[in-house]
Amino acid sequence: MSAILSRDEAKAITDKVLGFSRADACRVSILGRAAFDERTLAGLHANTRFAGNAITTSGESVNVRVRVRSAFGRRSATLSTNILSDEGLRRSVETSERLARLAPEDPEAMPELEPQAYREVPGFFERTAGLDAERRAAAVMPVLQAARRASLQSAGFLTLNAGCTAVANSRGLFGYHRSTAFSYTTTVRTPDGTGSGWAGAAHNDWSRARPQELAHTAIAKARLSQNPVAIEPGPYTVVLEATAVANLLRLLLVFAMGARPADEGRSFFSKRGGGNKIGERVVDERVTLVSDPWDPDLLASPFDGEGQPSERVAWIENGVLRNLMYDRYWAEQRQTRPTGFPAAVKMTGGTAMLDDLIRSTERGILVTRFWYIRGLDPRTVLYTGLTRDGTFLIENGRIARPVKNLRFNESPVAMLNNLDLLGQPMRVSGSESGDVGAAVVVPPIKTREFHFQSVSDAV
């Protein structure tokens, strides 16, 4: 078996599992990584890490996980395994069936989907999958060498996934999707510990990587951020680089946009007296948020975990809430279409460049990225977190000086309501961890009244 399963190899596994099944209904999924990570692709995971201008570790792992869901009437259970021998798969099917018989009836159980047609997404790039240890080492050298030349300290992470996901069920449904993705991030610090600059990039296609550019950006920021001064916390106009926008926007989508919590009265999107805010203007009218798996900048899976075909979904259109996340059960209850969970998202923007946003700002703060963002109050989608690795005071359209990092307590909804200017959208590495996360395409923005609560001494 190859490291990355072909369509036929994936189908052979799902057929075998379905052949072992004695349940009323069975669904089998092919996924990646170990038991702790549900989302990533089955296949190859590889990375190279560096710190102190030297490669510190690198690694490769190959894994295929098979998840079996068996159902008897309204009783169901799931089992996942990476033991793919006939005996291993048969035992997994039997165990899931035994657990399913023990489960209580689920009043919200949904039948398996009938066979679906999926429009292919061209998300697989050989040049990403072929990035072996030598090529990864070569790809991180420009950052290491540039940092050494500049007498600075670089740390960073280049990681890639290359593999597939597949889903099949006992009604004959089968879906297969092959994909690659990389994320390359670096933090450069000054030897005296008073300056730190970050840069990062992510895409399905390795040819989009620009290691020299990353090195240049992180080094310039490290130098520029040296010896920051403290400024008084309070509400500020901020220019948020696209990564910072993605850091906050992800949370809005992942944690706040469920339809059911909204309908049940426990969400920002709940309407007083019942129902939800679909159809209401919730943010600035220039904001449109869309999930479209076929967008060449997103290239996400054409189906979800149940085999539901992905569609282009507009969550917010011209500032108006158009959709919340409906699973199949809740969609049926509310007589609407299921949306699935957004595997990727794009926010539309304008034509301005980051420099234009800075130039238009009389007094404000430029933020490179955010860190340790945590929810404070789901009623207002209020989050806390901190700036890091490049925070600057803007005065009269120019970066005036580096400032100490700041803690914010702010809501992404308020951020999108107080918009001043939008820049050009771009794909960013939007996860705080630098792992390959969901594809996010967002513009840098300028927004008013962004609330900073306190100063941090961290550099």
């Binding site: 340790y372 404070l376 009623r379 306190s454 941090s456």
Partner: protein
């Protein structure tokens, strides 16, 4: 198989190699109100080989334990190391460790969670949910049990061979109350019950059915609770809350790799740097503050026989009477600070979340030692004029050098003239780590000490999850800044 892997690694040019073969079972039972939302079992089997070639690390892993694949993976690990040598600043030096030819260790689990019938678990959770929903105003309840059994075999070219079984159990519940006009909703999590490194007996001892009504009542009470007035307060922090403050503000900054910049790109560095300015010099907290690291406390999440370097579980002080004395270390880190600490061996902090991930320095149990006086939380409250008593952990956030933090909680009571007053809401406190710990002026005694912990502490790239416990007594902190997070409503 382990010996085959080590032989293949040596043949591929490794001066040192280790192999981990691991089989992990997981089980998750999740419910909400009167239904089961998820019932899933998982198993994952595979191996990872780590090699030193020319002083550089390389790592590779696979789920396929066949002979040719083991040999391929050993060669792949060596290739990684060779590729990495081109960017090596100084070769890896491993601290000495005595070989353990046949080590055996198991978590002290009395009841194997995987032997307990699923219907018994479901029945317990649904009955507890029903008890919570019996409370007027409680609208939603979710509850869950998560179990892990990790059977890890480890071998290295120094002659160590260990077989260990790690068991972890994490039962949890959240009750949500919604105001009749949907103008407000408030939740209470079951933080009195913490994850532990023991078996199903932990679930039985947790008494969800008995506790659920109280958690529900507290969620309902929060609806009508007074929103806190922002300002400066004395805080009395219960162990169900304080463990997380310890984790974030003491556990992470005393990780040696962070202090030396190895985690700069994600988890961050540490304000405890450079070590030569810190060890035996830096005052972290007040005189009554002593902090112990260990991987030995029975039932704790980090407890183990030998770490993923083959080093025996240790117990040592990180902070003595407020002064930092040491860091958390692995074999390849000891040489960085041994001249400062006088410690020539690893403290045994090497850990990898699965066979597919490379091991690196992870947090052991980090615990605040109790005081000499036999004080309880009630004694601390009785000695406080104006303050807030916080139980349970809420939203938490801390900067990437672990200076500036902001923590919430589950249940907040005002303290007035030594007595507990009304319940409060929208409470969050902010502080700078050394200021906060230097403001600690009262601490509970041995009888008030208990363990809290995290099932999923994240660090590293790719991000790995670690389970760790933190013991502490209740403690009092003077004049801490409290803010109101109900702004904008």
């Amino acid at each position: 198989m382990a010996l085959l892997a080590l032989d293949a690694a040596r043949s591929a040019g490794a001066s040192y190699a280790d192999v981990r073969v691991s089989g992990v079972r997981t089980q998750s039972v999740e419910t909400r109100e009167n239904r089961v939302t998820d019932l899933s079992d998982g198993e994952s089997f595979g191996f990872g080989i780590r090699v030193l070639v020319g002083g550089a690390w390389g790592f590779a892993a696979s789920r396929d334990l066949s002979r040719p694949e083991v040999q391929r993976v050993a060669r792949a690990a060596a290739q990684q190391a060779r590729a990495n040598r081109r960017a090596l600043e100084r070769p890896i030096v491993l601290a000495p460790a005595d070989p353990v030819p046949d080590g055996r260790w198991s978590s002290p689990a009395r009841i194997d969670p995987f032997e307990v019938p699923v219907e018994q678990k479901v029945d317990l959770l649904l009955r507890a949910n029903a008890e919570a929903l019996r409370v007027r105003g409680a609208r939603f309840v979710s509850s869950s049990m998560d179990f892990v059994r990790d059977e890890r075999t480890y071998a290295n070219t120094d002659g160590t061979f260990t077989v260990q079984t790690v068991v972890r159990s994490d039962p949890a519940m959240t009750v949500t109350a919604v105001a009749p006009d949907a103008s407000d909703f408030q939740s209470r999590q079951s933080d009195d019950v913490q994850p532990m490194g023991i078996g199903y007996e932990h679930v039985e001892q947790s008494d969800f059915i008995g506790n659920a009504p109280r958690w529900a009542e507290e969620a309902v009470q929060k609806l009508s609770a007074r929103s806190v007035d922002a300002g400066s307060y004395d805080l009395v922090l219960h162990p169900t809350h304080l463990w997380l403050t310890i984790h974030e503000s003491i556990g992470h900054p005393t990780e040696l790799d962070r202090a030396l910049g190895y985690e700069a790109n994600y988890a961050g560095t540490s304000f405890l740097a450079p070590p030569r300015d810190i060890i035996n010099r830096f005052r972290f907290g007040s005189e009554i503050m002593s902090v112990q690291a260990d991987r030995r406390q029975p039932g704790s999440l980090s407890a183990i026989g030998w770490d993923d370097d083959g080093v025996p579980a240790d117990e040592w002080l990180l902070i003595r009477n407020g002064i930092v004395t040491d860091y958390q270390t692995t074999r390849d880190q000891v040489a960085w600070i041994s001249d400062l600490t006088g410690v020539r061996r690893s403290h045994g902090c090497s850990y990898a979340q699965t066979w597919a991930d490379v091991q690196f320095q992870r947090m052991p149990n980090v615990s605040l030692l109790p005081g000499e006086q036999d004080l309880s939380a009630e004694d601390l409250i009785a000695a406080t004029d104006r303050g807030i008593y916080i139980q349970g952990a809420g939203a938490y956030s801390i900067d990437h050098q672990r200076y500036n933090f902001q923590f919430g909680g589950q249940v907040f009571h005002e303290i007035h003239n030594g007595r507990l007053g009304a319940i409060l809401k929208d409470v969050t406190y902010q502080a700078r780590t050394p200021d906060f710990w230097n403001a600690m002026d009262m601490i509970g005694g041995r009888r008030s000490y208990r363990l809290g912990g995290s099932f999923t502490d994240g660090k590293g790239q790719p991000s790995q999850s670690n389970a760790v416990s933190h013991g502490c007594p209740p403690a009092r902190f003077r004049n801490v800044t409290v803010i109101n997070t109900g702004r904008g409503r």
